[in-house]
Symmetry: C2
Amino acid sequence: MNTPKAHLVDDDEAIRDALSWLLSSRGLPSATYPAAEDFLAAWTPATCGCVVLDMRMNGMSGLDCFDALLDRGSTLPVIFLTGHGDVPLAVATLKRGAFDFFEKPLNDNELATRIGEAMALDALQRAANATLDSVNARVSRLTTRERQIMDLVLAGKYNKVIADELNISMRTVEVHRANLFEKMQVKTAVELANLFKTGR
Amino acid sequence: MNTPKAHLVDDDEAIRDALSWLLSSRGLPSATYPAAEDFLAAWTPATCGCVVLDMRMNGMSGLDCFDALLDRGSTLPVIFLTGHGDVPLAVATLKRGAFDFFEKPLNDNELATRIGEAMALDALQRAANATLDSVNARVSRLTTRERQIMDLVLAGKYNKVIADELNISMRTVEVHRANLFEKMQVKTAVELANLFKTGR
DNA sequence: GGGTCGAATGTGGATATCCACAATACGCAG
DNA sequence: CTGCGTATTGTGGATATCCACATTCGACCC
């Protein structure tokens, strides 16, 4: 897992440097890229923080870069900067999932605040996803039968009822139940249910 | 609970009528209001569907009307119409929770489609809230002790452990447990946990 | 054929949950 | 004082869950 940073992507060096300096004065680490292609080349799924993306750049546009990030499954919050107001474009990018949208000239303090908020959101999302991934990994290790039993346990059914529905003995239900609890790393059915609190 | 309708708020009668007719041809009921004040006077928490709100009107503006709805706790999806492009305003209203934002002249078919989507979202949200309200009503009827026991049951603890932690007998835990299960209308601890799947 | 894995089942015993029936104590309202 | 609601506790018995130890069967691979 990498250090969370604000990834600043703008072909205007003055803006990159000014922003980087401002964020540094707020204790927010940053990395700068003069072109969208540079950022995409450096991006990995473990890249953390947020992206500040100029809409219009030489080479690849900010919007195309955003699309490429989405295609790769990136969940990084993206803040767009633009020098040319265009309502449908602003609306469309926000609906597409962009975190925010700023027109130049920039209100630096407001932008820095939003960058902080975007990075905090990224941290929260990553923590939630780590939990979800861990649960999903455990589920993937269950056998077909164990998975079946788990779904019925999660529906609140007694072992006896489960046995009737699947036409097997209660003892077999108990065995599968014990095995799945071990694989899911829980001791009780309620603990199991709690694993799926935000997972479904 | 009222019939779900697209509530069309615009001081331009031609737009109200054209939209109402278009939605009618798609089987979407609508109601029209020539002023924001008229819509707010008619609004109740049971109003369903969505709101289509012109940004600039004589009298109260669309944005003030939106704020008033939010103040009253309305969850109706709101689609804004505007004749004057303004990126910061569009971005701000979307961030404030508006469902969508359209510039005039309108692309009628796209707007009608979005209205349909907004109404579907409202229906989903209302169903989810009904469930949540029902669960909360049941929780509100629990005694202090029953609530305490419930939290520990939901943490997956055995009755014996709960008794130790609260310094009471296991029999007392059983009694409270039985009482709270009855009030919460569940038969097993897993059913109870499932009530809070999306409630927390 | 031998080994592994998953599914199935049984016995016997321990622990956990559930509850009818019964009772006491305390706080509060009329 | 009486009645009501809540909290607490016990007895005895039934049902549910858990599991050590043991076994068999079928599918698949070497």
